[in-house]
């Protein structure tokens, strides 16, 4: 009886899981179908012949790898920048007392409300003034607009989860504030930092609107807009290539995910969502 219940539960849950994952499975299947099979009516569920030509074309005939490199550089730089600023800033917000601290914390929440659409043009002008227009750096700064508040907010809760006594103990033991930060707080904060870094990376990796407006050279275009403009045009929608590109865009995320999934969930548990 109990076994039966277990089996039924597993079957039910797994069919639900597969249903949720179906679009992803379909994406992979489509990317393996030859172009001629793609537009068959009715569609075939499983590819009748499997081909990797779309992947090959993507890598050899299109600037996909350039976009890919740009995305990697962009997301990594954004992550480094935002997490560094965020960690130090969160330390300041949580463990120091000075005037305006509370207001600042409130402001962070407020910046959540800003729609990206509003910021684009002024931001673009600022980038030009800074001499950064049409560079990856301009996207790094633009991504900061949404990534930094989020990172700061996450890291703040993680920081609050680090017992204050640890820092006090380090101070008494002879460390300076920064020494205690480096020796004691950073190692304690590491899971939180990793978790925040992952979220930041993903946000930046997936961003579309700023990338659409702020850069227009293939040499600095990231994957999101690169793939869209390359494969969806007025004269063709290359679904098979798109699906192949989609799979390849997701590969780094899969890798990251496979290795660090526990950080994501555990990180959240450690205080990320306590508010």
């Amino acid at each position: 009886m109990k076994l039966l219940r277990t089996v039924a539960f597993n079957l039910f849950t797994w069919s639900l899981v597969l249903l949720i994952a179906f679009p992803l499975i379909w994406m992979v299947l489509t990317s393996l179908k030859p172009q001629t099979e793609l537009f068959r009516i009715p569609p075939t569920w499983l590819p009748q012949s499997v081909t990797f030509e779309h992947y090959w074309r993507l890598l050899t005939e299109t600037p996909f790898l350039i976009y890919f490199r740009n995305s990697v550089v962009l997301a990594t730089a954004t992550t480094l920048f935002v997490v560094t600023l965020g960690t130090v800033g969160a330390y300041s917000l949580v463990r120091f007392r000075y005037r305006g601290r509370e207001t600042l914390a409130l402001l962070v929440l407020f910046t959540y409300l800003l729609p990206s659409v509003v910021l684009i043009i002024p931001l673009y002008l600022a980038m030009v003034w800074l001499g950064l227009s049409n560079t990856l750096m301009s996207l790094v700064l633009a991504h900061t607009t949404f990534a930094l508040p989020y990172a700061l907010w996450l890291l703040r809760s993680f920081m609050e989860g680090v017992p204050e006594d640890l820092e006090s103990a380090a101070l008494v033991d002879g460390a300076t504030r920064m020494g205690a930060f480096k020796d004691i707080i950073l190692p304690q904060l590491l899971p939180g930092i990793i978790s925040t870094a992952l979220f930041t990376f993903i946000l930046s990796w997936n961003e579309y609107l700023y990338a659409l407006v702020l850069v227009n050279t293939d040499s600095v275009r990231p994957l999101t807009t690169g793939v869209m403009s390359m494969l969806i045009s007025a004269f063709n929608i290359e679904w098979s290539l798109l699906m192949a590109a989609s799979v390849m865009m997701s590969v780094p995320l899969i890798v990251v995910f496979a290795f660090l999934q526990s950080y994501l969930t555990r990180g959240f548990g450690a205080g990320g969502v306590k508010g």
Binding site: P23, F96, V117, V118, I120, N206, L223, L253
Partner: protein
């Protein structure tokens, strides 16, 4: 030395200085990438401006009068609210439900979790492409599958007519973002002490009663935060809707973010776009304050 020590807590001031120093980079960056564009947007909203040149004339509050009197803003606000409410509730219900399932003992639980969580990490562009391909009227798997199992005879037009288009974006939005709820709820579920359930069992509570009386109250704080965050993000959502329906049919799925984009870049009315976005922020601010007040009082 003694006299100085009496009056000034120099050590404390030193620490405060260090604290300010540490937050300074954040403030500088915030001023550059958030405060300045925000002020600029408010400033721009007082002009009538041709987007490509940013040339324009001062019109005072005309753009705000436009906002109040024209239907566009209000109908987009309504669309935004429908979308936000629809997708958010679906995200919460599915998120909590799936989290509860994944919290149980499941075969290959870790794999199942990865599969479920993955849509959240997928690029919006990819998610939209995959779904547009699924929704495709002629070659799409969704119509084909539904026809095979006999639910429909003719392909359904998923994104081009109402209410399908709204249902479509709500569905894709929920699919894309419910894993966020799953992650957070799952993390919280793992910290609910087992003895609470045991106590409830001893008191004779069945599984459903245990969910309502034990699980849900324990989840409340986390749900409060999730709802706030997701509501803000959904309210602002641009990529997903823009790429899925572009706001159509007619303006049935044109949310405020899309309206702002259209005013700014299709109609070249940067001033009005700025005014609309300021309006959009105010709406969000009001909702947020009401929500925070409300949940603060309950909690």
């Amino acid at each position: 030395m003694t006299a100085k020590a009496h009056t000034a807590p120099a050590l404390e001031r030193g620490y405060a200085r260090l604290g300010v120093l540490l937050i300074a980079p954040v403030i500088v960056v915030f001023s550059l990438v958030i405060v300045y564009p925000l002020l600029a947007a408010i400033y721009l909203s007082l002009f009538q401006i041709y987007t490509p040149t940013l040339q324009g004339s001062f019109v005072g509050v005309d753009n705000y009068m436009d906002l109040l009197t024209r239907r566009a803003f209000w109908s987009s606000l309504w669309v935004t609210l429908v979308w936000t409410f629809g997708t958010l509730s679906l995200q919460i219900v599915c998120g909590v439900g799936v989290a509860l399932l994944l919290h149980q003992n499941l075969w290959f639980r870790s794999l199942a979790r990865s599969l479920v969580l993955f849509p959240y990490f997928l690029s919006t562009v990819v998610a939209v492409l995959v779904w547009r391909w699924l929704f495709n009227d002629l070659y799409g798997a969704l119509n084909h599958g539904l026809m095979q199992i006999g639910l429909i005879d003719m392909p359904v037009d998923w994104l081009g007519s109402m209410p399908n288009a709204m249902i479509g974006i709500i569905l894709v939005g929920a699919w894309k973002y419910f894993p966020f709820v799953v992650i957070a709820v799952l993390a919280r579920l793992q910290t609910i002490p087992e003895h609470l359930y045991e106590a409830a069992k001893i008191d004779g509570a069945g599984p459903i009663a245990r969910f309502w009386d034990v699980t849900l109250p324990q989840l409340r704080s986390v749900l409060t935060v999730i709802i706030l965050l997701r509501a803000i993000w959904d309210f602002k959502e641009f990529d997903l809707i823009y790429l899925l329906t572009g706001g159509g049919p007619v303006t049935s799925t044109q949310t405020l973010a899309l309206l702002v984009y259209q005013e700014a870049f299709a109609l070249n009315e940067m001033g009005r776009a700025a005014a609309y976005s300021v309006g959009m922020m105010l709406v969000m601010l009001v909702f947020m304050i009401v929500y925070v007040r409300h949940s603060g009082r309950e909690g």
